[in-house]
Amino acid sequence: MNHFPHGWGRPRDDVYGAYNHAYLQPDGSKQHTQSPIVTGTSVIAVKFKDGVVIAADNLASYGSLARFTDVKRLRRFNSRVVLGFGGDVSDMQHLDRLLSTLSIREDYSSTASESDNAARELNARNLHTYLAKVMYKRRSEFNPLWNAILVVGLDGESQPFLATVDLLGTTFSAPTLATGFGAHLAQPILRRAVPDEAAVAEMTREKAVGVVRECMKVLFYRDARSIDKYSMAVVEKEKEVELVEDEQLEQQSWAFAEGIKGYGTQTV
């Protein structure tokens, strides 16, 4: 009798030879293999006093190839919710269709008088909960939707709302959020501007837009899978969603490039 539980239920090594782990991985059941194909990079967002700003660039990459250059990764859901998608673009499209189906069905059941219609509309928190359940269910089926999503807008109390969900169904919320490369490069800048919820109350829309633009520039400088065209949306209390999809990065400075030596075909 083998006294080590590890060996129980396995063919005996002294009779059958060592177990060939190529047949069955020791770490569990056979898994689907997959990876994202056409991908979008970071999405960043920051809360301010009466709303939220979100931005993402317009590039969809195929590996290292800048494949599609006018891909809109921010989606307006309704008058108080905008979604930003990072990761696989076809999965984002799938989610977009899922959400439009949801929106149509919601409208069927909210044909009450116009005045309270807005209160019945799905708010940002509702949508985040919904997406979190979709994403967690898909990961539990070993068939994930390969995205990191930011949900921004207003919650049921018309307060600014910002939260994320990723391909594992992991969710969290913070005054500033950034997916992908942005988590490394933009998040520190955003946190310096808005360290906590108390700072949110002091933040103006203009300053929030300013810091987001600054982050988009940093990301373009340092993220090789980014582009200098981006989309930005602002959701604000008692205002219509403002979504611009063809912003150009302004005031780029590449002067430092002059001083870089040692790459390419320079004659020093």
Binding site: F68, R73, V89, D96, R97, T101, I104, T111, S113, E114
Partner: protein, 294 residues
């Protein structure tokens, strides 16, 4: 009725020797007892209106809406058996959702009418079912803009292969009426229910085929026509329910919605006024004398 006692009306899908399907005709009778429903196809949209008969004072005012939305830009109003109307709408919504899942775009109003016509007709074919006790008016706006498929992510090339065709025209207002037999036609103006004869007479006066009438005029005419159609059953109370769907530039931005309360009430006020015994007009006639030509 001569058919009674002949036995040819006892089962659905059975013809009488002179080529009639009595069950379908009885269904039409059910429709003829329902509150009047009309649809008007205007230059820049469609108006649907319903004379919603109030059978109890215990019902909340302006609640229990009867005109339903299918997808985002189609409206359905029906006269006849209410539950049958509900089932009709439910099926229409399924068809619209199924269309979207295949084609990734909203169902054209004509295709929806076609599918619903086929569906209603199927209920005249089998002895295990009965025909729909409703005539449904389906009105919608097919987008005039070049729509991307659902989930489309970019705008595609601006010129050249796969680019945009300049000045291409498509979309517009559409109006269909589907009867219990499954028969459906496209209309400029459609009316069904108890007051349909009066309503049709009024609709014909509007010269809808000319395509001149605007959506706002359409709303006012629709309200007036429902009030005219109600004249014969004046003892019963009713509420006017009205919805519309406009072009993308119009007030509903291509969506099927309720007519805003203020506009509806204004239309009702004008409708009531036009029905009042016309003392002033009497005077006006004395003065001008040429008003009758209108």
């Amino acid at each position: 009725m001569t058919s009674i006692g002949t036995g040819y009306d006892l089962s659905n899908s059975v013809f009488s020797p002179d080529g009639r399907n009595f069950q379908v005709e009885y269904a039409v009778k059910a429709v003829e007892n329902g509150g009047t429903a009309i649809g008007i196809r205007c230059k820049d949209g469609v108006v649907l209106a319903l004379e919603k008969l109030i059978h109890s004072r215990l019902l909340k005012k302006d609640a229990n809406k009867r005109i339903a939305t299918v997808d985002r830009k189609v409206g359905v109003v029906s006269a006849g058996l209410l539950p049958d109307g509900r089932h009709f709408v439910s099926r229409a919504r399924d068809e619209a959702a199924q269309w979207r899942s295949i084609y990734k775009s909203p169902i054209p109003t004509s295709s929806l009418a076609d599918r619903m016509g086929g569906y209603v007709q199927a209920y005249t074919l089998y002895s295990s079912v009965r025909p729909f006790g409703v005539t449904a008016i389906v009105g919608g706006w097919d987008s005039e803009a070049e729509l991307g498929v659902d989930g489309q992510v970019g705008s595609g090339p601006k010129v050249g292969a796969g680019g945009k065709r300049e000045g291409a025209k498509s979309g517009g207002p559409y109006l269909y009426m589907i009867e219990p037999s499954g028969l459906y036609w496209g209309y400029y103006g459609a009316a069904t229910g108890k007051g349909r004869q009066a309503a049709k007479a009024e609709l014909e006066k509007l010269n809808l085929a000319d395509g001149e009438i605007s959506l706002e005029q359409g709303v006012k005419e629709a309200a007036r026509i429902i009030y005219v159609a109600h004249e014969d059953s004046k003892d019963k109370e009713f509420e006017l329910e009205m919805t519309w769907v406009s072009s993308l530039e119009g007030p509903t931005k291509g969506h099927h919605q309720e007519v805003p309360k203020a506009l509806r009430e204004e239309a009702e006020r004008l409708a009531k006024k036009s029905l009042e015994p016309e003392d002033e007009e009497e005077e006006a006639r004395v003065e001008g004398g040429d008003r009758m030509e209108e």
